[in-house]
Amino acid sequence: MPAATNPLAQGLGVRRQPDPCALVVFGASGDLTKRKLVPALYALAYRGLLPERFAVVGVARTEQATRQFVSRMRTAVKEFARDPFRTDVFETLAEGMHYVATDFAADAGEDLVGKTLDDVDAKRGTAGNRLHYLAVPPQAFPVVVRKLGERREREGWARVIIEKPFGDDLASARELSAAVRRWFAEDEVFRIDHYLGKETVQNLMALRFANGIFEPIWNRQLVDHVQITVAESIGIEGRAGYYERAGVIRDIFQNHLLQLLALTAMEPPIDFSADAVRNEKVKVLRAMRTPGPASVVRGQYGRGWIEGEPVVAYREEPGVDPRSLTETYLAVKLHIDNWRWADTPFYLRAGKRLARRETTIAIQFKRAPHPPFEEIAGDGLRPNVLLVHVQPDEGVSLAIGAKVPGAGMSIRTVHMDFLYGGAFREGVPEAYERLILDAMLGDATLFTREDEVEEQWKLVDAIVGAWSRDQPTFPDYAAGGWGPAKADDLLHRDGRSWRRH
């Protein structure tokens, strides 16, 4: 229905519909499929956003029939979807669901999946278009990508969504990129960082570039520093095998934290196209100065209390080495050496078993140059902070000083809040809904590009390289707090402190 030629299309406000396609989920028996992917597909089906000719093919080693897979997904939708369960919506989705129990790495498995997809094309009219979702362990990426590449259909498009982590370091990321690039062009590769699919993260761009008042003050002249926090109260949730190798630096810092920083610090893109946005993010990542050891604090949680319940130390978690030196907390002071941000520190921190779950970006502005009531204002007069709440309570707050009513001139900090849930009562879509739909549409704006990933790994490698030379004393913070004391020192040295919680 091209609008240019169809006069009836004008003004319908109809969103672009994805082409007919099959979503092939590798690792379909895992938690991600159950908790995120299928509920996201249900939400899209609920809103009529999936193509009419659509199929989901789950591939995994776990033995189960399609019927059982569908039944499990029905239960998952009832439990995890954000919309009420509607039989008609689910049944429409389920009609196109298939499950293939096989080892895709083996030739026989590959044939079986290929045959299923041929059948799907014939029955569902999916026209050979494939969106491959790699929800498999990272070590399986190269072989799955190779097999997919070898079997690319001549008809239709093929895209591949790759879950993090994309590599363990710069070398492995480059190796993986080379393996992917052999079979897929960059515009066919969708490296997922689900933070980018979050509504508030996108709102950060709206806040910066749709509001004339922020851009003139969004720089070193008026911003004192920036704090980005990704705090989790949960532990490693049985993922010791992965976490022991990754630590918080690979799990959160390399991707989510650096992406949030890039979005906060980037220059305005010329438009909202994938390359324009990603070009600006890469410039920020390239301008980042490698932090010295004094600018990095790592920590590991010991025993403590979370929401009134005692929790074990990291080293006591099942599957974790009792002498593990894996960091569960990281705080880093970064500088971006460009005109906008020179000498403005960005303090980033992420950790497990912290006091509460919270992802925020705090832009702290410089103090008023000469408040005439400083003597009587006391502690009440604090700098302005623009706080972007990524999760939970998605929204934006501005901390301003206001006079306390009554005689005298007492100043108190008050928050002006904009909460998504308050102003827009439309349910905020889950990140995976947006990202899967964008991948079907071929829009990579909210996915990370190869050069972004490489820049992120360069920084991580530089930090981790320095760690090989020291032996930290772990654990160094109690579960349920806000991290090690050294992290506070990191800011105190600069005459600053972490935001009050």
Binding site: N6, L8, G48, D393, G422, A423
Partner: protein, 280 residues
């Protein structure tokens, strides 16, 4: 105390009372929603608001004209809070103004001071407006957008001619038009075959049928004849005798339809052309 001060005092008192429960409250209005609701439309308007308020936090001002009953303005004001699931509540304010006697002809003087500054003001006009009346003229001057539902009117399509006369003064939208959207999408999907359409048959509200026909006429720049059979909602559409498959999109509730209108702030030239082509 004037009526505006009385309303503000009532709202302020209730906001304080709401805060006593210890739950942080937000006034996160995005619009002022003025509802012109003659008594016979009031129950229906209140029902729509009940479904709408949680979705669009707003200050809602019901204007109930009672031209023949006494004089002056009586006001009620209520603050509703809605939990937003994270231990916070969002407030919506509902003001009901009964405009008696002459006041029913001059609503602007009481609406204007109650509009929330810097936010768009919508007026949902229930029933058919008195096109030449001063009340409509004043509302057009103080609001940014007029939302009607032409399926509430008698005298179609002539009334569309009157409506078109407002287009230069205020952004107008029509819930009947919004209701036709899924069918317009379905018809647009028939491009290019549909470009030679001669006859459209619609089973549904007369307003919806007229607007669909006006839309085809204006977009395709050709004369399209309408055959209409009355029904509560559009149940069947035929193009030159060929039945159009019903749309996949689910139809919205009354609140959902109004909510969709409240998200749009600019003129819709496609709608305006459709109205002008209804044969009014």
């Amino acid at each position: 105390m004037g009526v505006v001060a009385e309303v503000e005092r009532k709202l302020a008192q209730q906001r304080c009372r709401q805060e006593d429960d210890g739950v942080p409250e937000l006034r996160a209005s995005t619009i002022t929603d003025v509802v012109w609701a003659p008594p016979r439309w009031l129950p229906q308007a209140r029902r729509v608001l009940a479904g709408l308020a949680e979705r669009n936090p707003a200050r809602t001002i019901f204007l109930v004209p009672l031209p023949g009953r006494g004089t002056g303005v009586e006001a009620d004001a209520v603050v509703y809070d809605f939990e937003i699931g994270d231990g916070r509540e969002v407030l919506s304010e509902v003001i009901e103004l009964r405009l008696r006697g002459e006041a029913a002809r001059h609503p602007a003087s009481v609406v204007l001071p109650l509009l929330i500054s810097d936010l768009p003001a919508f007026c949902r006009w229930r029933g058919r407006p008195d096109w030449d009346g001063s009340a409509l003229q004043e509302i057009v001057e103080v609001c940014d957008r007029l939302v009607v539902d032409s399926s509430e009117w008698r005298g179609l399509p002539a009334a569309y001619g009157e409506l078109a006369g407002l287009f230069e003064g205020i952004v107008v939208s029509d819930i009947a038009w919004r209701r036709t959207l899924p069918w317009r999408v379905a018809l647009a999907d028939r491009w290019p075959q549909i470009r030679k359409v001669d006859r459209l048959a619609v089973e549904g509200p007369r307003a919806d049928a007229l607007l669909l026909t006006g839309w085809l006429r204006s977009r395709l720049r050709r004369d399209v004849a309408l055959t209409h059979r009355s029904a509560a909602t559009i149940s069947r559409v035929r193009v030159d005798g060929d039945t159009v498959a019903p749309p996949r999109q689910r139809s919205l509730s009354d609140s959902g339809l109004l909510s969709a209108e409240l998200d749009t702030l600019t003129r819709d030239p496609v709608y305006e052309a459709a109205v002008r082509s209804t044969g009014a």
